[in-house]
Structures are given as structure tokens and as C-alpha cells.
């Protein structure tokens, strides 16, 4: 008897919520759905690596200025003729892009050397056996 009573109470309450005013139910539902969607988007943002490249975070003001401003998405003609002029135009833009790429870090430097990360041993054995 004591076990069925709370169950009956819950049943009645659920019945009252379902058949009662719909506004609280709708508001509650909206909050739950928005929380779930927010959780999904934050998880997505973190897991797909976007968070690592997000320079809009605080502390990245200087880096934001160094990022090339995104130009408007250029569309290319896919049905034009292939002639001298078309190839010249193509090569002009291609070379501009290639030149731009040369101006960015290419990750082939020794940036993570002990000196760069303040770990240079001034005296004694600095070799690490790995």
C-alpha cells in the first residue's frame, strides 16, 4: 500500500500536467530542448577541433589581427573556354595565392627548441636521452 501510494500520486500529477495548462509544459519543453541543442553544439565545437582554431576567444586579440581577413567567396567559371587568356588569368591568381602561402609559417622551423621554450640548461649536460 505504501509503495503504490507515491506511484499513484506521481500518476495523478503527470495526468494533471498533461491535461492542465499547456504553457508551463511548453516552456519547460523549450528549455529542455535548448539545453540539449546547446550541449550538442558545444560538444561539436570542442570535438571537431573548431575550438582550437577559434581566435575570437579572449587573449587572442593580437593573433586575430594577424589572420588574413576573409575575402568574399570568389566564384569560378566552370564552363568557359580553355584558351591563352583563361590560362593566364588562372596562373595569375594561382601565383598570387602561392606567394601568400610562402608568407605563412611552414612548421619546418625549430620553434620548439629548448631555447624557445625557456628550457635551455646554461651549464652541465643538456642532452636528453630519449
Amino acid at each position: 500500500m505504501s509503495f503504490t501510494l507515491p506511484f499513484t500520486r506521481v500518476k495523478h500529477r503527470t495526468y494533471r500536467i498533461i491535461h492542465g495548462p499547456k504553457l508551463p509544459l511548453a516552456l519547460g519543453g523549450a528549455i529542455v530542448v535548448s539545453l540539449v541543442l546547446m550541449g550538442v553544439s558545444v560538444a561539436w565545437y570542442t570535438l571537431d577541433g573548431s575550438s582550437k582554431l577559434d581566435l575570437s576567444r579572449p587573449g587572442y586579440e593580437q593573433e586575430r589581427a594577424e589572420v588574413r581577413t576573409s575575402e568574399t567567396q570568389k566564384s569560378y567559371d566552370t564552363t568557359g573556354a580553355i584558351n591563352e587568356s583563361a590560362i593566364s588569368d588562372f596562373l595569375t591568381e594561382y601565383d598570387t595565392r602561392t606567394k601568400e602561402l610562402k608568407g605563412y609559417g611552414d612548421f619546418s622551423d625549430s620553434t620548439l627548441d629548448d631555447n624557445d621554450i625557456q628550457l635551455n640548461v646554461q651549464s652541465g649536460d643538456s642532452s636528453a636521452t630519449q
Binding site: G49, R68, L101, L112
Partner: protein
């Protein structure tokens, strides 16, 4: 019968724990390297400075990664459109298509190798290097290796970009 099922489930769970723990131990072992006492002391004393420098490097690298990623995307769109133009004009250029495909793969590899490298840096920044200098340095060593991999990917992308240009110029000469 029930006991048998329960014991099998328990054995299964134990096996999962052992495997999971083993993997974690392997990762930890990878991050730890043997280094001299002098070095350990240097890491301990300069822990904060080193992590600050590492943070600055991470920020600079993010800028390079973003700028490169944007230019690669733009370049791939331009190349793809030009290949379509060849196809539309019924000009068979299989080598161009092959180079474009290789280039796309190389760009994808560049992105994933950067993610791996950035994970190393993030792990190094999370370590308390005053308490565990060996693990900190382990992540640094791993990051150096992974950074070199990105460098190789950038080089292979550069080679493919030059190869595509050379193929276009060769075709231009036949006009």
C-alpha cells in the same frame, strides 16, 4: 545458469578495464622520457615561463594554420573549377585530376596532423611541470616530432602545387 551469466559479465567488464588501463598506461609511458637531472631541475624552475612560451607558440601556430587552411581551400576551389572547365571543353587531362586528388588528400593530412600536434601542446600545457617535469618534456618531444610531420605535409603540398602549375604551363605551350 544466472551465476554463470553474471560471472561472464564481470569477466568481460574486468577485461575492458584492463584494456582501458593498459592503453592509458601506454599513453602515459609515451609522454614520459628519461632526461638528465639538470634538465629536470631547469624544467621545474622555469615551468611557468616555459608554459607561457609554449602558449605563445601555440597562438602563432594557430594563425599559420588558419591562414594556410583558408588559402588551401581557395586554391582547391580554383583548381576544381579549372578541372571542370577542361572536362566541359572535352579536354582529357587525367594528370591534372590526379594531382588535384593528391593535393586534396595532402591538405586533409595537413589538417589532421595539425590537430595531433595541437593536442600534444594542449597536453603539455595541462601538465603541472613543477611536479612532473618528465611528463611535460615527454609531450614537448612528441610535439616536436608531430610538428616535423606538419612541416613534411606542407612541403608535399608545395610540391603538388608546383606540379599542378607545371602541368598547366605544359598544356599552355601546346596551344
Amino acid at each position: 545458469m544466472k551465476k554463470q551469466i553474471v560471472s561472464r559479465i564481470l569477466v568481460g567488464l574486468a577485461a575492458i578495464f584492463v584494456v582501458a588501463f593498459g592503453v592509458q598506461a601506454a599513453v602515459f609511458a609515451q609522454a614520459s622520457v628519461t632526461i638528465s637531472d639538470d634538465k629536470l631541475e631547469t624544467i621545474r624552475t622555469r615551468c611557468s615561463n616555459s608554459q607561457f612560451a609554449l602558449q605563445q607558440i601555440e597562438k602563432r601556430d594557430a594563425v599559420s594554420r588558419i591562414n594556410r587552411g583558408r588559402d588551401y581551400d581557395q586554391m582547391m576551389r580554383q583548381i576544381s573549377a579549372f578541372n571542370s572547365r577542361f572536362a566541359y571543353n572535352k579536354i582529357n587531362m587525367p594528370d591534372l585530376v590526379q594531382i588535384s586528388s593528391d593535393l586534396q588528400s595532402a591538405v586533409d593530412e595537413f589538417r589532421s596532423s595539425y590537430d595531433t600536434y595541437d593536442n600534444d601542446i594542449a597536453s603539455a600545457l595541462k601538465v603541472n611541470c613543477k611536479q612532473d617535469p618528465s611528463q611535460y618534456y615527454g609531450y614537448i618531444v612528441q610535439a616536436r616530432t608531430d610538428r616535423a610531420v606538419i612541416g613534411e605535409k606542407v612541403q608535399s603540398i608545395n610540391d603538388l602545387i608546383a606540379k599542378y602549375r607545371a602541368a598547366i604551363v605544359t598544356y599552355q605551350e601546346t596551344l
